[in-house]
Amino acid sequence: MNILVEILVCVLLLIGGFFVLVGSLGLCRLPDVYTRLHAPTKATTVGMGGILIASMVLMTYEQGYFSVHELLITLFLLITAPITAHMLAKTALHHENRALRRTRSQHLIASAREQQPPAAPDSPNHD
């Protein structure tokens, strides 16, 4: 196998694997449900992206024709990940999950849950 291709694939894979792991690590480490939302939705997009591109490259190389269908998975993930995060955030808000104490603007939680404009005294003024 072409060493360059192999190196490329390996690097992509390692990047992907790293981010997958970090995402899941974040899921464990981060202190509250709102922060935990960040880790997997983001890290897995790049993590998955890395692995998918690696797969694309490798398959294309090995099979001798363009193997690009992995892009479709990427597409799906990119479209759906934010919605998943949004739905989960809605759920967390609905369940009135406690945010980390030092979280800023916690008063917005109530407004967000009720889907009302921000209405607390210390809300920043926008024109």
Binding site: M1, E6, I7, V9, C10, L13, L14, G16, G17, F18, V20, L21, G23, S24, L25, L27, C28, V33, R36, L37, P40, T44, G47, M48, I51, L52, A54, S55, L58, M59, E62, Q63, S67, H69, E70, L72, I73, F76, L77, T80, I83, T84, M87, L88, K90, T91, A92, H94, H95, N97
Partner: protein, 89 residues
């Protein structure tokens, strides 16, 4: 080199899966658990792709694709359930 890399990355994904399960079992809120499950879906896509690369075959692509599609539906439905109870209303 490739095989070693795949092996290492698979290991990373496995650890990730275990961590996900830990979060799923630990909670504390149901939204945490659903988040963990969703992450598991995505990580298993990675696992399947890695396996496909290891075997040098395209046969498992559809499985990965379906997990991506169906995992989303499943997560959304679970969230909808927690929000509204009735998922199809």
């Amino acid at each position: 080199m490739l095989n070693t890399t795949i092996f290492i990355v698979s290991g990373a994904v496995c650890i990730a899966l275990v961590l996900n399960l830990w979060r799923l079992l630990r909670g504390p809120d149901l939204s945490d658990r659903i988040l963990a499950l969703d992450t598991m879906y995505i990580n298993s896509i990675a696992l399947i792709l890695l396996y496909g690369m290891h075997m040098g075959t395209n046969l498992y692509f559809e499985a990965a694709l379906l997990i991506a599609m169906l995992g989303f539906v499943s997560t959304v439905a679970l969230c909808k359930y927690l929000l509204r109870g009735d998922i199809i209303e």
